[in-house]
């Protein structure tokens, strides 16, 4: 590879390009906005791969924006974790963008419509915000990026204008705002105590003390509200269920992961030494509650999209088991940072799988006009590819091989058993069984023999989009060595040694 490619401004472009697209889409108008958006989205995987190559060749990528080095300026930083999230984001957004044409591309002969225009700049802004989060190395900048994310995500929830979606969006907005204001408060205290918000500098300067403790607690609480960890999950299911499927896919797959990503940065990079056993155990306990409560609620839903949304709540719970399980390997283990890696892989495979599921739900709505689980007889014949994709995505949620979810769960479970904390293994296994329960409860009517009435036909190429995502989530289980090596680049030492 030429040096020019390896040294290009890929990190900056990953933030700037989506925003440029968003700005351009507005004057361009509703007839062309979707074309522009798809063009920009298509560049995403390419840019993310170029950044990955840059990381692979030269180690952690750091960019001092404007040439002003931290602490005066703001830095972007891309380590393995960032790049993996960026890649996932680019792929999921590409797929979502393609799928969203069904609902938001202008029909021939029609003028500009509200949703047909606004969906695309909102989606691009969402993408830019996600990239800004995954690349951000400054805690205040991350606050702005989070707000950008929220303000792009909330309108997407109610862009179809349904009353229940408006209520859900408002509730989502209030939760998110409370979360970010708590986060900001923590950032203020950290600045007061250390004179910088650059993550790398903070990590080096960090002094324990009341201000730092309080900052950590406030920021964690704020990020938990945004990540919808039990018991702060109330906003998530209605919002993710009421949004149009393409938006739900992005919200469930990626948006909640952004605040989780910052939480990881905070705990593992900024203040690993301060994160005591108590805090980590508390997060693990809440994660356990989320797994169990979310799965049980998903089992009780009558509507497909609500069931999938509650499943998101449950799956997010697994991510929090990383905190108590980090480190703690034994000599019998031939790897390091098992739990941390498992958690990150879980986030990625869940992103792919959940996006696939919501896109399938979108196809179901399109074909049947409803998503009542009981009335989905004959779905397997009407859209076999989509149902297959749903099943494959389900593998990852259940944590069954072959899938990324399996490898993730395997790493987490092994970490639990190897460190003698076997009690964390119980909710993981139980959650897998419950997930099997709700996934097959959804598949059951789809495979039953009754002919569905009035299914509108859905062409195979629309069904192929969720299938591609689901296959990727499976492929992640067959070739996780690459992500594993990638994740090792620039990984925080706390991921290997544990917190506290």
């Amino acid at each position: 590879m030429a040096d020019g490619l390896a040294d290009g401004p890929w990190a900056e472009l990953l933030v700037a390009l989506p925003l440029a697209g968003m700005l351009l889409a507005l004057p361009l108008g509703g007839r062309q906005a979707h074309r522009l958006a798809l063009l920009v989205l298509a560049a995403g995987p390419v840019l993310a791969l170029l950044l990955a190559a840059q990381l692979w060749q030269g180690g952690v990528v750091g960019v001092a924006l404007g040439g002003f080095a931290a602490p005066l300026g703001i830095a972007l930083r891309a380590d393995g974790l960032s790049v993996l999230m960026l890649l996932t984001t680019a792929v999921v957004l590409c797929a979502t963008g393609l799928a969203a044409r069904a609902g938001f591309a202008p029909r021939p002969g029609q003028g500009e419509t509200r949703a047909g225009l606004l969906f695309w700049p909102l989606l691009l802004a969402l993408w830019g915000a996600l990239n800004a989060v995954f690349l951000g190395n400054d805690l205040f900048n991350l606050y702005v990026a989070l707000e950008l994310l929220t303000l792009a995500a909330v309108p997407l929830v109610c862009i179809e204008g349904k009353p229940e979606a408006v209520a859900a969006a408002l509730r989502y907005l209030l939760f998110a705002l409370l979360g970010s204001v708590l986060y900001l408060l923590g950032a203020a205290l950290l600045y007061g105590a250390h004179g910088t918000l650059d993550i790398t500098l903070l990590a080096a300067r960090l002094q324990p003390g009341p201000a730092t403790w309080m900052a950590g607690a406030l920021m964690t609480a704020g990020l938990l509200a945004k990540t919808a960890l039990y018991p702060l999950h109330l906003w998530l299911p209605p919002a993710h269920a009421a949004a149009p499927a393409a938006a739900s896919a992005v919200l469930s797959a990626l948006v909640v992961k952004a605040s989780f990503f910052i939480l990881l940065r905070l705990w593992f990079d900024v203040m690993p030494a301060l994160a005591g056993l108590g805090g980590a155990t508390l997060l693990g306990g809440l994660g356990t509650a989320a797994i169990l409560a979310g799965s049980l609620l998903a089992l009780r839903q009558e509507r497909l999209k609500l069931a999938i949304a509650y499943s998101t709540m449950a799956q997010l719970g697994y991510l929090f088991l990383m905190f108590p399980l980090a480190g703690g390997g034994t000599e019998a283990q031939p790897w390091s940072a098992g739990a941390w890696t498992g958690g990150v892989l879980h986030a990625v495979s869940h992103a792919l799988a959940k996006a696939a599921m919501f896109l399938v739900a979108g196809l179901v709505l399109q074909a049947a006009g409803h998503d009542r689980i009981r009335a989905l007889q004959g779905l397997g014949r009407a859209m076999p590819v989509a149902v297959f994709a749903f099943g494959l995505a389900g593998l990852s949620l259940m944590g069954l091989p072959p899938s990324g979810g399996f490898v993730a769960k395997w790493l987490l479970l092994t970490a639990a058993l190897a460190s003698g904390q076997w009690w964390w293994a119980v909710p993981m296994l139980a959650g897998g069984l419950l997930a099997a329960g709700y996934v097959f409860r959804l598949l059951n009517p789809a495979l039953s023999a009754g002919e569905g009435q009035g299914w509108r036909p859905v062409r195979r190429r629309w069904q192929a989009i969720p299938l591609a995502l689901a296959l990727l989530s499976v492929a992640l289980g067959l070739a996780p060595l690459l992500p594993y090596l990638l994740l090792g680049l620039g990984r925080s030492p706390a991921a290997e040694e544990g917190l506290g």
């Binding site: 408002l170 209030l174 203020a188 600045y191 009558e302 509507r303």
Partner: protein
């Protein structure tokens, strides 16, 4: 200067508390939004205290001041969106409060 800055920092802490109380207690959406703005400005005051303690030539550390300006604009953006959502909710359903939490086993809706 420093002691005054700390005083405003403490005021900011109190404002956050007052805002949290309002957010929890008030049912009307607009009043929730108002309470959120109180919390926000309390946080900005804490930032201001941090900046003010910094002394500096003109008036304190300019970096947190710039952050507060950014924060104020962001808070306004969020408020505007929240108000618009509240108005839309009112127009659609006649409600000025958020519907109660969705029941666990939400039925067809």
């Amino acid at each position: 200067m420093t002691s005054a800055a700390t005083l405003y920092g403490l005021a900011g802490a109190a404002l956050v508390g007052i805002g949290l109380y309002g957010l929890a207690v008030q049912a009307h959406v607009l009043r929730k939004i108002l309470a959120f703005n109180l919390i926000g400005s309390g946080v900005f005051l804490v930032f201001g205290a941090v900046a003010g303690r910094g002394g500096g030539a003109g008036g304190g550390d300019p970096v947190p001041q710039a952050m507060v300006i950014t924060g104020i604009v962001v808070a306004l953006s969020a408020t505007a969106l929240a108000v618009a959502l509240a108005l839309r909710l009112f127009r659609e359903t006649g409600r000025v409060t958020l519907p109660p939490d969705p029941p666990a086993g939400a039925r067809d809706g």
